[in-house]
């Protein structure tokens, strides 16, 4: 690995081998990684909300599952990735607080995961692995050389998917 590139909340970035991508402290947001395994080009988007069409203020494409993944693919193809061979790995979408009433606002993590999967399905991108849901935060790192997504959480063992 050469350089670890950070992706913030409602942000996206791409990189080529041997660099890696990371996003720190994912909560209800979803980190979606797209990967071209042949050219070893990866992209990571940190999605906050499921659907750009339901929000008035939607200039930031990386904020939403639908537009974020489109924007990520566009950035990846710019640096040489082949749209047809992309695979995906996703993590996050936790419910951080144990709310007693189950209203829509509280299920946001779950909805982010559903929307991300739906978008991948519509684009015909195969979801290779996921670590989603539950009630804890995750830091993720994606390594372009191996295609492995590493997940770190507080008080838990490191996962590699």
């Amino acid at each position: 690995m050469n350089e670890m590139i950070k992706v913030g909340m409602a942000d996206l970035n791409v990189c080529t081998s041997p660099d890696a991508l990371t996003t720190l402290g994912l909560g209800s947001c979803v980190g979606a990684v797209l990967y071209d395994p042949i050219r070893k080009i990866a992209g990571l988007v940190h999605v906050m909300l499921p659907d750009s069409t339901k929000i008035i203020n939607n200039e930031n494409k990386a904020k939403f599952a639908d537009t974020g993944i489109d924007a990520l693919i566009a950035e990846m193809t710019k640096i040489g990735a082949d749209r047809r061979v992309l695979v995906a790995k996703i993590a996050g979408g936790a419910q951080m607080f144990a709310f007693s009433n189950n209203n829509e606002m509280m299920r946001i993590g779950e909805r982010n995961v559903e929307a991300t999967k739906l978008k991948l399905l519509q684009l015909g991108i195969s979801l290779k692995a996921e670590d989603t849901g539950s009630n804890y935060g995750r830091t993720i790192e994606f390594y372009t050389e191996t295609g492995i997504l590493m997940i770190k959480s507080v008080g838990k063992d490191i996962k590699r998917i």
Partner: protein, 206 residues
């Protein structure tokens, strides 16, 4: 009705929001001081309008372990309020409240201590919101406290998502308070819906 756009807050609105933070946090600090029976000083609150990517930096990085206590708001103002403490501050407050020796500085909280933390959150939020309520003459009621101890980024994602629905930045009222030279950091984050912002500003004649 006053309209507010989080991407273009004018100076007047900014000042009013800072004053709300000042009054709310001032009352909350007083309540906290009475509860642990110690003098607590509060610094002038900072009102920050931050981009989402900068958000977690304020609490010492996205992976920093913090205690977050969240309330949902109902009544004439909808939204959320969060009170966040770093682990050191949380431990210090719990020790002060429960009269336990201050040498225990780390390790996991017991059930009893978690319950005490919840109560601290409850009293602080109650004081904050009731002062806001009497200032604006708007009825605000809050839910029971919901607590999580995790990475700051993960906890902040919950209010950040609410801000995400109305803009690309989050409005944060940050208050630092300390006791006898020991500085602890606490953050109050008030997240009204956009309509509720307007209601607050209108009630104050803006």
């Amino acid at each position: 009705m006053a309209h507010i756009n989080l991407n273009q807050i004018d100076n007047m609105q900014y000042d009013v929001l800072r004053e709300i933070g000042n009054i709310g946090a001032g009352n909350a600090t007083t309540a906290l001081s009475q509860m642990i029976n110690a003098k607590i000083d509060m610094k002038v609150p900072k009102v920050d309008l931050l981009e989402f990517k900068e958000l977690s930096d304020i609490v010492g990085g996205a992976e920093n372990l913090v205690v977050g206590i969240l309330f949902t708001l109902e009544g004439q103002i909808d939204g959320m309020m969060m009170f966040m403490l770093d682990m050191g501050a949380a431990r210090h407050l719990v020790n002060s409240l429960m009269g336990s020796s201050n040498d225990k500085v780390d390790g996991e909280f017991t059930e009893m201590e978690l319950s005490a933390l919840n109560e601290i959150g409850n009293i602080i939020a109650g004081a904050y919101l009731s002062s806001l309520s009497s200032l604006t003459n708007i009825l605000i009621t809050s839910s029971i406290p919901y607590m999580a101890i995790d990475m700051a980024g993960a906890i902040l994602s919950v209010p950040a998502i609410e801000f995400g629905k109305i803009g690309d930045r989050a409005l944060l009222i940050e208050t630092e308070f300390g006791e006898d030279g020991m500085s602890v950091n606490g953050y109050f984050i008030l997240i009204p819906t956009l309509e509720s912002y307007s209601a607050i500003l209108s009630s104050l004649g803006l």
